[in-house]
């Protein structure tokens, strides 16, 4: 067999300390406790596959295996509870004493999965429904007591109102078809017509989006389903260019580009929601609950509409020409009431 480094009763072994890993020790202990049952439940499993499953390098994994192999108990008689080998890159655990099952789920662990599964069930998309309810039931049973507090966290997702469109889009994705959208752009109060090659469907911040390669913009775009006014699945195959990268939506949906227009707005207390809804590069507290924020946008028209919506609760400070335009917009609208 490929012999692990010699067992040493003295503790520190193998010259691998300090470890290069950034993982904390308790994370490592958790990994070690999971490693034995992982292998046992699969009879034998490759080093590379295991390393990938645990998110560590093969070197770190081998170090873990050596550590497990080195565990020694001394009383009443000295013995080694764990025996394993990884000959030819394949891990086999031949003796695992009482460690052949993983530790129970902690409350946070059970909750993270149960809350997410219930959320998926609520979105209620397509054929996953029965798989979801089965999985939830099995996980609740396995989690036992640890699953109970998860009932105190709930994610309510609005039933996706656009069920018909959703079904069409799922069909287009499955069959890799191009779609045609009539899409409302509120920033410009315009309805646009465009062909899109669908990439995936997302639910972010409670709303459903189609991500796809927009042939009009020649780029990856997100389309909010509640702004899709018309949808047709075309007979043409979708052609998502190789360079089309899915957006990293976890960093926020609106990601300003450096060439975007920078706008400064002063917000009264009732206008502070702007800072909650849009990513602000800079927010300065002006006292009395007033806030001065800096935003970036590719489209000044969006800011003009925002300023009209804010009324006295927000004032565009810079750029000056945009501020003047807002006043003109308001005056022109007001003149119609005279």
């Amino acid at each position: 067999m490929t012999t692990p480094t010699p067992r040493s009763g003295s503790g520190g072994s193998g010259g691998s300390s300090p470890r290069a890993s950034t993982a904390t020790g308790s994370a490592r202990l958790q990994r070690l406790l999971a490693l034995v049952p992982y292998v046992v439940s699969r009879k034998a499993v490759g080093l590379a596959e295991t390393a990938a499953a645990f998110g560590v390098s093969e070197r770190e994994l081998v170090d873990d295996l050596n550590l497990l192999w080195c565990v020694e108990l001394r009383s009443p008689d000295p013995y080694c509870p764990i025996d394993l080998s990884y000959e030819g890159g394949e891990i086999v655990v031949s003796q695992a004493e009482q460690m052949d099952r993983p530790l129970r789920l902690a409350v946070d662990e059970a909750s993270a999965l149960l809350v997410a599964l219930r959320m998926l069930a609520e979105i209620g998309a397509g054929g996953e429904r029965s798989a979801l309810s089965r999985t939830i039931a099995k996980l609740e049973a396995a989690a036992g007591e640890a699953g109970v507090p998860s009932a105190q966290v709930a994610v309510q997702v609005d039933k996706i109102a656009q069920q018909a469109q959703l079904t069409q889009l799922q069909d287009a994705l499955a069959r890799r078809r191009r779609v045609h959208l009539s899409y409302y752009v509120p920033g410009r109060d315009e309805t646009t017509e465009r062909d899109v090659d669908p990439m995936r469907l997302l639910v972010v911040e409670g709303r459903t989006y189609l991500e796809g390669w927009c042939r009009l913009a020649e780029g990856v775009r997100l389309f909010r389903l509640d702004r899709v006014l018309g949808l047709q699945v075309l007979d043409q195959p979708a052609e998502v260019p190789a360079e089309a990268e899915p957006k990293d939506v976890d960093q926020g949906l609106y990601r300003p580009a450096p060439e975007d227009l920078q706008v400064e707005i002063e917000l009264a207390p009732l206008g502070r929601w702007v800072a909650e809804y849009y990513p602000c590069e800079d927010a300065a507290d002006l006292g009395d609950g007033r806030l001065r924020v800096k935003l970036r946008t590719p489209d000044g028209r969006w800011v003009r509409r925002l300023a009209l919506r804010l009324g006295e609760n927000g004032r565009v400070v810079a750029p000056a020409d945009l501020a003047a335009q807002v006043r003109e917009d308001a005056a022109a609208a007001l003149a119609q009431y005279a």
Partner: protein, 315 residues
């Protein structure tokens, strides 16, 4: 944690799992390598080790084998330690992997990954294969972590909260009952100790840290509480629907026309549009955002509200 300590803790877990009987501290020291010679130093280290194991969720039991034992003993009952048998079909494993990705950047991401690790260790093959389904994501929020802990452990909290339109945040004291995400925003619901009433707070309006003000278990969630319903009731708009009569320029005001109940021509370049609304102020702001493309005709309070809004934008 040093390698030495990891080895010692691992030895401790295996030792206590293997024993049917309660083992005294001295028996444990004799069996598990790595403890110091000095009894005092050993005791201190052993106390810390026990704490660490409990933090990992390892059920460390204290007890004695008979009424005659003076020293308390320790063991880890397998029943309480082991994840019960769980077998998932391929479609179930796929939704599980999808669920674990929901939290990707948010607070419970680490917990979801930890759970997946244990389930994989139980033989579940939950591969991270991208699938053409719907990918939901939950966004993070600074106050989520401490509030979830408070809800989980039933502890009261205090935090500074800036209610809508308030110029200064106010310190609030809350017995939290639950955390709810609605329309993509996080809320906490519970008993407000100062108002002596049920209150709902939006997490994004909490400023600064959330502090615990009492021990675990000191909050009682009233029987039959449904936090989702509490938040929904707080958040829902009054369902009174009114009808607005609007003049909308041809080819413009699409955001209004979408919800129109009737549209008819009204002279050169204009349509007369009827649309439902419930909140006058909100709808007036919405209408104002269309600028000169829209004129509010009726009702009078809506018309006035739009005018006020536009004057505000000119100031």
């Amino acid at each position: 944690m040093s390698r030495r300590k990891t080895e010692r803790l691992l030895g401790l877990v295996v030792c206590l799992l293997s024993s049917e009987r309660y083992l005294t501290a001295l028996q444990i020291r004799a069996a598990v390598p790595g403890y110091p010679e000095s009894f005092e130093a050993f005791k201190r280290m052993f106390e810390r080790d026990k704490e660490e194991l409990r933090e990992l969720g390892i059920p460390l039991e204290t007890g004695s084998n008979s009424a005659f034992d003076e020293e308390p003993g320790y063991r880890i009952p397998r029943q309480a330690y082991e994840l019960p048998e769980i077998r998932l079909e391929p479609d179930e494993a796929a939704v599980l992997a999808l669920a674990a990705r929901v939290w990707r950047q948010a607070e419970l991401a680490g917990a979801a990954a930890g759970a997946l690790l244990k389930l994989r260790a139980a033989g579940v093959d939950a591969e991270e294969t991208p699938q053409p389904g719907i990918e939901p994501r939950l966004a993070g929020e600074a106050a989520f972590g401490p509030l979830w802990e408070a809800v989980r452990d039933r502890r009261p909290v205090t935090f500074a909260y800036r209610a809508v339109g308030r110029s200064e945040p106010q310190q609030r004291r809350l017995e939290p009952w639950g955390v709810v995400n609605r329309h993509g925003r996080w809320y906490v619901a519970g008993h407000d100790r100062d108002r002596d009433a049920v209150r709902v707070f939006r997490l994004s309006r909490i400023e600064g840290p959330v502090r615990f003000t009492g021990p675990s278990g000191s909050v009682t969630v009233p029987e039959g509480t449904d936090v989702r319903e509490t938040v929904r009731a707080w958040d829902t708009q009054p369902p009174v629907q009114r009808t607005a009569l609007l003049r909308v320029r041809n080819g413009a005001g699409h955001g209004i026309r979408r919800y129109a109940t009737s549209v008819r021509p009204d002279g050169e370049g204009w349509d007369l549009v009827e649309a439902p609304f419930s909140d006058v102020l909100w709808y007036a702001e919405h209408l104002a955002s269309f600028g000169r493309a829209v004129i509010a005709v009726e009702p009078a309070d809506l018309r006035e509200a739009v005018i006020t809004q536009l004057k505000g934008a000119m100031a």
